[in-house]
Structure formats: structure tokens, C-alpha cells
């Protein structure tokens, strides 16, 4: 069993989703963590200066928005679905809608379609105003590893 799935079991027991991020070095480095204080599962990327992509505007680097939307989808799949493996990303398409200012970014994911092996997830990121998203993404994840997938007929 992976550290992440062990952490998931601990987090569920404690009802504290934020523990999931502690098991992922990149999430810690980027200050990306899930939260469910309001009863809704959200993921927050806390603002820090290393996120900046354009110092003149200033604006957060687009790559970091793609990264946090991907993490949002992963946290959602781990927490809200009965996954037994760590979801493996196949692809992601990010649409950039507005430049992101140097403040926290918050995101929410929803499953558009859940298949037996593949999940399609939509995620949306915003800053102060939820009705003005800064970026959205669609991503596919494999939720069963090839090794333990049943043989096709």
C-alpha cells in the first residue's frame, strides 16, 4: 500500500483532508492543499512569490495554475470517490480565462464521467470572486492500474 493511500485512510479517520497534501512533496513545495472546512471539498494554492510568472502585471505563472488544477482533480478523486489506487493522469487541457493576481487561488473539481478504468474530471479555479474563474481544466485519469485490470474479452 502506498504512503498516499495510508495517508488517505488516516485523513478519513480524522476527517481532515488537509493531511493528504503532506504526503506529496510537490504539493508541500507549491503550498497546494485540500480543505473541507465549509463542507465543500476545495483545493487552495497559497500565494507565495515563487508562483509569479509575470513581474510587471504582476501575475501568477500559468503553469502553476495547470499544476494546481491537476492536484485539485487528484484530491477530489482520492477523497470523494472510492479509489483503491492513486489516480494516474493521462492528459489535461487547461483554459486560461483571466490573469491571476498575486493572491491565493482556490479550485473545485467535479467528476463529469466515471468509468470502470477512466474518469473525466472538470476543475475550475478562481481568486476572490468565484463567478470569475481564472482557469478551468478537463483531465482524464486512469483509476485502475494496467496490471490489475481484468483481461479484456
Amino acid at each position: 500500500m502506498s504512503t498516499l493511500l495510508e495517508r488517505l485512510a488516516e485523513a478519513r479517520k480524522a476527517g481532515d483532508v488537509a493531511r493528504l497534501a503532506e504526503a506529496i512533496p510537490y504539493a508541500r513545495w507549491m503550498k497546494i492543499a485540500p480543505e473541507n472546512g465549509t463542507g465543500e471539498l476545495l483545493t487552495r494554492m497559497r500565494y507565495h512569490d515563487d508562483l509569479i510568472g509575470n513581474t510587471f502585471l504582476p501575475a501568477i505563472h500559468g503553469g502553476t495554475l495547470g499544476a494546481m488544477l491537476e492536484m485539485t482533480a487528484i484530491f477530489h478523486l482520492l477523497w470523494e470517490t472510492e479509489t483503491e489506487t492513486v489516480p494516474k493522469i493521462v492528459n489535461i487541457t487547461v483554459d486560461y480565462l483571466r490573469s491571476a493576481r498575486p493572491v491565493d487561488v482556490i479550485a473545485r473539481a467535479t467528476v463529469t464521467k466515471q468509468g470502470r478504468r477512466m474518469v473525466n474530471v472538470f476543475a475550475e479555479a478562481w481568486q476572490d470572486d468565484r463567478s470569475k474563474p481564472v482557469a478551468t481544466a478537463n483531465a482524464h485519469f486512469l483509476i485502475k492500474s494496467d496490471a490489475d485490470a481484468p483481461p479484456s474479452l
Binding site: S2, T3, L4, A23, I24, P25, Y26, A27, R28, W29, M30, D49, D50, L51, I52, G53, N54, T55, F56, L57, I60, H61, G62, G63, T64, G66, A67, M68, E70, M71, V86, I89, V90, N91, I92, T93, V94, D95, Y96, S99
Partner: protein, 157 residues
């Protein structure tokens, strides 16, 4: 301007003065007309799965976005601000733990409003990619042009 000077200039404005690129430690390998290449060293902080040591998708996304953006800068005749409109990444296979990742991007078409790019990330053999990307960029966006954005026009590649 010789190749070494050009690469040093792209390194300065495309990595060292862009805080997130600097934080990732992106190294510019090459820049030519419609072409950009960068290198990202493996390190523990960028790992997605601590069991395997495989890099998270995020650092690759940020690197491919930056590399595609740099390929756009090499195509501009006059400096103007631009921004990523959309970016698709296909994660073909996991990056190998401990190995540096190389990104190569191409800006294969540019119009007055939009630049079209594609890129691959690999471990040294471009025929065996880790990730593939397709990005479009909106040209003439608001704000002051950055040195990174004007560098292609300045170096007259």
C-alpha cells in the same frame, strides 16, 4: 550575437527573472527562430509520488508552458505582450526518478492574434517522450511588454 550570448540572454530573461521558472531551476539549452529548449533537473521537492520518486505533473506543465511561451517570443518581429490561451498536456509515460527532463517546443504558426505551439518532454531521446503538449497563445494582451516577451524581437533571430 553568437549562440552562447543568445542563450545567456534567454536564460536571463526567460528563467532567472521569472520567479517561478527560477524556482524550478529551468535552464535554457537552445533558442532559435520558432524553437526553444529547456532542461529541468530532478529534485525531491518536485516529486508527486514519494514511493516511486516520479515527478509530479505540475513541474512538467509549468516547464512546457514556459518553453512554448519562449518559442512564441522567438517569432515576434516587434515586442508585444502575450499570454497562454490554452495548454494541453498528454502524459505519455512517467518521468524516470533522478533523471533530468528536457523540453523542446516549436511555434509552428503565428497570426496577428494567436500563436500555435507544440512541445515534447523527454530524457534525452526525443523519439521516446514523457509528455507531449499543444499550446496556443493570445498576442497583444494587456499590460506592459516584459523583457522575456520582447527578447525574440531584440535578438533578431
Amino acid at each position: 550575437m553568437d549562440k552562447a550570448e543568445r542563450i545567456a540572454l534567454f536564460q536571463k530573461w526567460f528563467s532567472d527573472t521569472i520567479p517561478h521558472s527560477k524556482a524550478l531551476g529551468l535552464q535554457v539549452i537552445d533558442a532559435g527562430k520558432g524553437f526553444a529548449s529547456m532542461r529541468l533537473e530532478w529534485r525531491e521537492e518536485l516529486v508527486g509520488n514519494p514511493e516511486t520518486g516520479v515527478l509530479a505533473g505540475g513541474p512538467l506543465t509549468a516547464m512546457l508552458d514556459g518553453c512554448c511561451g519562449m518559442s512564441v517570443a522567438t517569432m515576434l518581429k516587434a515586442p508585444e505582450p502575450f499570454a497562454t490561451l490554452d495548454l494541453r498536456i498528454d502524459y505519455v509515460r512517467p518521468a524516470e526518478p533522478g533523471k533530468a527532463v528536457i523540453a523542446e517546443a516549436e511555434c509552428y504558426h503565428i497570426t496577428r492574434s494567436v500563436a500555435f505551439t507544440r512541445a515534447f518532454a523527454h530524457h534525452g531521446d526525443a523519439k521516446n517522450p514523457i509528455a507531449a503538449a499543444a499550446g496556443t497563445f493570445m498576442l497583444g494582451t494587456k499590460g506592459k511588454v516584459t523583457r522575456a516577451q520582447s527578447i525574440g524581437a531584440e535578438t533578431k533571430i
